[in-house]
């Protein structure tokens, strides 16, 4: 990515210092098996050396359910809880945050989520340039972020396919493109898992800013998605072989969108199918 303009600050992407930083980040994000891939991905990011130096990545202590960074929370005295993974998941225990514990008790169709970056001002600016300005060229950047996180957290998972969170048809027609469709397509090419659009948004939900609380949002989201596949074949894969599905989104806020997606997929494919999520920001 040498010589390009930095997507975050517009600076020049090159130099020895940047090489060093790419190496350092790659070591921090990878295991020996994934190092070469992660190195190539980090190096491909159009970020200059000063932005890479200040880069914040969600760390090692996370909620094992929603992928939230817990380092500061734990330091501030927030507790983490041991939680058995719901009845139809394996009985293994994991450490989760308070929010996830509450969701878990009501039954959570989403197995887990992982995100790479905290949603800070810089992330906001980049996402809005992509999503609202419509700079589709940013898709490559976001799919590289997801690929990095995939190799870090999901490398040993066996996903049959990946899918995106769809937009409602009318919003899609207004906006002209679904940013996550582009990202999912790019991610699929990077990690070699087929991209199959499984879902359709059947209910137009109000914009995030116009919704009041978490509960209302959860309520609104319920039944907002339907799975488009009911036959025995899913885009060339035999339905029964689909054991694990990955859904990608730009950001995990309360998780209600992704939970609704997971519920729709499991509704159609059976409750033995496990759904995980991967987001750029958490």
């Amino acid at each position: 990515m040498s010589g390009a303009a930095c997507v975050s600050c517009g600076g020049i992407v090159s130099g020895r210092r940047r090489e060093e930083l790419v190496g350092r980040w790659s070591r921090a994000l990878s295991r020996p098996a994934t190092y070469p891939r992660i190195y190539r991905l980090v190096d491909s990011l159009p970020l200059c050396s000063s932005c890479l130096a200040e880069w914040q990545v969600i760390g090692t202590l996370i909620c094992e359910c929603c992928g939230r960074d817990m380092v500061n929370q734990v330091r501030n005295g927030e507790k983490m809880y041991q939680s058995p993974i719901g009845a139809d998941f394996s009985q293994q225990e994991r450490r989760v945050c308070k929010d996830c514990l509450a969701v878990q008790e009501k039954g959570n169709s989403l197995l887990r989520n992982r995100g790479l970056l905290p949603y800070d001002e810089c992330g906001k600016a980049m996402l809005s340039r992509f999503k609202y300005r419509g700079d589709e060229r940013m898709a490559a950047f976001f799919s590289a972020l997801l690929a990095i996180e995939y190799y870090r957290s999901y490398h040993s998972a066996g996903f049959s396919c990946l899918s995106e969170v769809p937009l409602h048809e009318s919003r899609l027609s207004d906006r002209g493109f679904n940013q996550m469709e582009l990202v999912a397509d790019g991610l699929s090419k990077r990690i070699g898992i087929p991209y199959i659009p499984l879902l359709k948004r059947s209910k137009q939900t109000a914009k995030l800013s116009q919704q009041r609380g978490k509960r209302e949002r959860e309520e609104n989201m319920r039944g907002a998605f339907t799975c488009m596949y009911t036959g025995s074949q899913i885009g060339g894969i035999i339905r029964k072989q689909v054991r694990e599905v990955l859904i990608v989104d730009d950001i995990y806020t309360t998780g209600s969108t992704l939970r609704a997606c997971a519920a729709a997929i499991r509704e159609a494919l059976g409750h033995t199918c496990q759904v995980s999520a991967l987001t750029c920001f958490r």
Binding site: R133, D135, E136, R137, R175, G176, F177, N178
Partner: protein, 657 residues
């Protein structure tokens, strides 16, 4: 999702192709004009495709006389063109898959491919327009709001929202305006097929900013056709193949302002020279042109201002551009007043375009003060008066894109600092904001070569002025420009990072500070700001609290500049962002690392121009410290010396006469 119908209108033997998103409006329009017959060719969801087909058809129609039998041949021609475009788009969009069966398609209408589809057969004949009176009224109203603007569909929505008005059907109103010849609907991105022996290609052009290299193909869910968008002007909203872009030249009729507040119209004494016989036009224009300025011109300024005014007043055809070349600190804003007044008096509106928002914000109140009866608006990204009507508009370059054939006079301030400097986009955008036959006035202290070549005639290079330029080599206070001193320091940057003494830098800085002056220290790159700042703080500990560093992305930039203006800070280590605009009386300048390519001749002249601006402290020190000798710094010094000589000879000549 819009669909565009393509049809041929035949009346009195002449045939022409048209595009419409609402055929019933066209039917009603042509019904009022006798004898027009309409033959539908097909419909498409891509406006760019319809637009391109219209061009092809009109070419073909110009060549042959139209007969009813030939309609099928025109349909065939259209389908052939669509097929060719589909193949080419597919090639150029390698790796992408179309949403529908084909990348581009032209559907037939009405199912009767054989029969000529004439008037009564309409795609939605149930919805015919009987009464057009209301449509005409609404269309007139829309015309008044849109007059002199070029807007994408979404921007029209924003404008009308701001005005608190919604027509029954915006699409109908526009179509009526277009049929009446008062507006144009273009696709945001246009394409044409370029054929060559090597290969044929589709060439895309942004109708808004004119870029060709920055168009990205996209699988568009709005039109579900092969589409493209422009990345150059993306910040202003997406311009796509399927977004309608409306261009409406300024209409004379719409100048009728809704009542100017009477309080503003109190008659004041009119400033020197602009009273009496030159006053023409209606009373509103006379009042708007009132110039209330108590300052005085130096003889040199007076000459330059008059030359510019003559250019604006001249109705000589072909004389469209003028360069006002005034050194830093010549008082160029004041020079504009007569030209602006001249245009206002003739009933025209003036646009002053400037590269940066802070200049817009600074300029607007100054202009408003001297033209007390004129409506002055500041137009930038977050401006609330963006959509107002005005006599004088002060705008950033990006905003200039939204104007269309509106201004008889456009002033381009600091033309060499524009983001599109030396980029065809700037010229395209500016020449579109000007009315046909209007004037562009360039303002610069360091005009770029291409502009000098165009507007400063070879023969006239030793003269101060020609028909297309005027040079103002001296400052308003009459003192010469400070000439930079140059000091070459081998291993400059190593010395700085190692903390070793760089005598010239430290001595000059200390002398300035001890003399009670403030100092700009320019460095070439962002990462050198902390290095040089730290170095100076360690070396001059007595002043270390009064030093700060600033760069473009610095969140505290405005605050630091404010403190510097307030003399709370005495030394400002900065990148070239403070090269223009910020003027501090009693300040000196040191450039550390002149050899870096960001410091070209123009940039160094501008930087040196920071010093000695005020009349009570017209001198100061400018020091260039460089690692090795460079041509840019010599050229800058040569230019400054030349200006000083010219100014001196002018003053002498003035003194003798």
């Amino acid at each position: 999702m819009r669909e565009y119908l393509l049809y041929i209108k035949v009346s009195g033997g002449a045939a022409q192709a048209h595009i419409t998103p609402c055929f019933q409006v066209d039917q009603a329009f042509w019904r009022e004009r006798e004898g027009a017959q309409l033959y539908v060719i097909g419909k498409s969801k891509s406006l760019a495709l319809a637009f391109s087909l219209r061009g092809e058809l009109n070419n073909a129609l110009g060549d042959h006389a139209f007969t009813e039998k030939s309609v099928d041949s025109y349909r065939a021609l259209a389908s052939a063109h669509v097929r060719e475009a589909t193949v080419l788009y597919g090639k150029q969009a390698a790796g992408m898959t179309p949403i529908e069966k084909e990348w581009l398609s032209l559907e037939s209408v009405g199912g009767s491919g054989e029969q000529a589809d004439t008037l009564p057969l309409s795609p939605s004949s149930k919805d015919t327009l009987e009464d057009t009176d209301e449509l005409k009224r609404e269309s007139e109203r829309l015309l008044a709001w849109m007059s002199g603007r070029a807007l994408l569909w979404d921007e029209v929505g924003v404008l009308l929202n701001k005005k608190g008005w919604a027509p029954r059907s915006l699409e109908y109103c526009f179509q009526w305006m277009i049929l009446s010849g008062k507006a144009e609907r273009r696709p945001g991105i246009e394409w044409r097929i370029r054929r060559s022996w090597l290969r044929h290609r589709m060439l895309f052009t942004c109708a808004r900013c004119g870029s060709e290299q920055t168009i990205v193909l996209t699988r568009c869910h709005s039109c579900r056709q092969g589409c493209a968008y422009c990345t150059e002007c993306l910040d202003m909203g997406r311009s796509k193949c399927c977004t309608p872009y409306f261009c409406v030249p300024r209409q004379k009729a719409s100048q009728a302002y809704e009542a100017v507040s009477p309080g503003k119209l109190c008659e004041r004494t009119v400033n020197r020279g602009f009273t009496g016989e030159r006053m023409a036009g209606t009373s509103y224009e006379r009042r708007a042109a009132l110039l209330d300025w108590q300052g005085t011109y130096s003889p040199m300024q007076k000459m330059a201002a008059e030359k510019a005014r003559q250019f604006v007043a001249s109705d000589r055809p072909g004389l469209g551009e003028f360069l006002l070349w005034a050194v830093c600190g010549a008082g160029k804003t004041e020079l504009l007043f007569p030209s602006v007044a001249e245009t206002l008096r003739a009933g025209g509106q003036v646009l002053i375009a400037t590269p940066r928002k802070d200049v817009v914000l600074e300029l607007a109140p100054r202009i408003a003060k001297v033209f007390p009866n004129a409506r002055v608006i500041a137009v930038h990204g977050s401006s609330t008066e963006k959509w107002e009507d005005s006599d004088i508009t002060i705008a950033t370059t990006h905003q200039v894109m939204r104007f269309y054939h509106r201004f008889p006079l456009v002033v381009l301030d600091e033309v060499d600092a524009f983001p599109y400097h030396n980029n065809p986009v700037l010229y395209r955008v500016v020449s579109r904001a000007v009315q046909p036959g209007g004037k562009i006035l360039y303002l610069s202290a360091t005009p770029p070569r291409y502009l000098q070549k165009r507007l400063v005639p070879k023969r006239a290079q030793s003269h101060m002025h020609s028909r297309t330029h005027v040079l103002l080599p001296g400052r308003y206070h009459g003192s010469p420009l400070p000439v930079p001193l140059v000091c070459t320091v081998r291993g400059l940057h190593k010395h700085l990072s190692a903390g070793r003494s760089v005598q010239a830098l430290l001595e000059t800085l200390a002398a300035s500070l001890d003399g009670g002056r403030q100092v700009f220290v320019f460095v070439p790159r962002v990462d050198q700001v902390p290095v040089v700042l730290g170095y100076l703080q360690r070396r001059l500990p007595g002043y270390s609290q009064a030093m700060a560093g600033v760069h473009a992305a610095d969140p505290e930039r405005e605050e630091k500049v404010r403190l510097f203006r307030a003399k709370q800070l005495l030394v400002m280590v900065t990148t070239t962002i403070l090269e223009r605009g910020v003027t501090i009386p009693r300040s000196d300048v040191i450039v550390v690392g002149t050899e870096a390519p960001v410091f070209d001749e123009a940039s160094l002249v501008q930087i040196a121009g920071r010093v000695g601006r005020s009349s009570d402290a017209p001198s100061g020190t400018v020091l260039f410290i460089e690692e090795y000798r460079t041509s840019a710094s010599r050229a800058a010094i040569r230019q400054i010396n030349r200006m000083n000589q010219l100014a001196a000879s002018l003053q002498q000549a003035g003194g003798q006469s």
